[in-house]
């Protein structure tokens, strides 16, 4: 039976099998590259050696034999390496719960728990409705505030037109002067009236 290694895939973001396959292919590619390089060197050396009877075809044959041999060795070793990596590295122990799955720790055990979950969902729905209502109410108040502030600023602006906070410039002083002056005039008038009598 296949173990699909789903939890490991969730954690790593790739399947362990794909990972091993990629490693295998990488090794294979490298082996092939090395063989090609080695063959080139041998060809060069063979052609430069005096009295060499080695042909390119012979060298190619040997290279292919060597490659086959290396491949077989590698495949055997890789089986062991794959086992170790899958068991010890690309593996999540069965008792481990990933942090992202903490909400599933207490999986609903039956009808009761499911019923509780449904109640919770309904409560959340009501809370959301209330919050949305609050948002509309707050936005409405902001609109009313704008209108009210504009009206109040208009009134203040009207007061500005009348003059500063103590009335039109100098009104207070002028009034005080007039009253003082009137007081003096009154006493002078009384004085003159008496003297003229």
């Amino acid at each position: 039976s296949i173990n699909p290694l789903l939890y490991e895939t969730q954690f790593f973001g790739f399947t362990p099998q794909t990972c091993m396959l990629r490693i295998y292919i990488a090794f294979q590619d490298y082996l092939f590259e090395v063989m090609v390089a080695v063959e080139k060197v041998i060809l060069k050396k063979a052609s430069s050696l005096p009295g060499s009877t080695l042909s390119a075809v012979q060298i190619r044959g040997s290279t292919e034999t060597f490659l086959r041999f290396m491949r077989e060795r590698f495949n055997r070793l890789f089986v062991k390496m794959e086992q170790v990596l899958l068991q010890l590295v690309l593996n999540i122990p069965p008792n481990i719960l990933l942090p992202e799955d903490r909400s599933h720790e207490k999986y609903p055990q039956g009808r009761e728990d499911f019923h509780l979950l449904q109640q919770e969902v309904e409560q959340l729905r009501l809370r959301y409705k209330a919050e949305l209502g609050a948002k509309h109410a707050l936005l409405a108040e902001l609109e009313v505030q704008k209108v009210t502030q504009a009206r109040l600023k208009k009134t203040l602006h009207w007061f500005d037109g009348l003059g500063d906070a103590h009335g039109p410039l100098g009104l207070g002083e002028m009034m005080a002067f007039l009253i003082q002056h009137s007081g003096r005039l009154r006493s002078i008038t009384q004085d003159v009236t008496q003297k003229s009598k």
């Binding site: 959301y128 609050a134 936005l139 902001l142 502030q149 203040l156 906070a165 207070g172 009034m175």
Partner: protein, 42 residues
Amino acid sequence: EQERENVKLAEMVLEGRKQVLELQQQIQARKQAWQMLTQVPK
């Protein structure tokens, strides 16, 4: 998310209420200053 948005909106509303109150107080102060002026000639 809606709760977070509402907190920001509520802050704006409180600020707006404060401004309205300040404007009202300023108007009251101006009105009272003018009213005091009528006391002078009395």
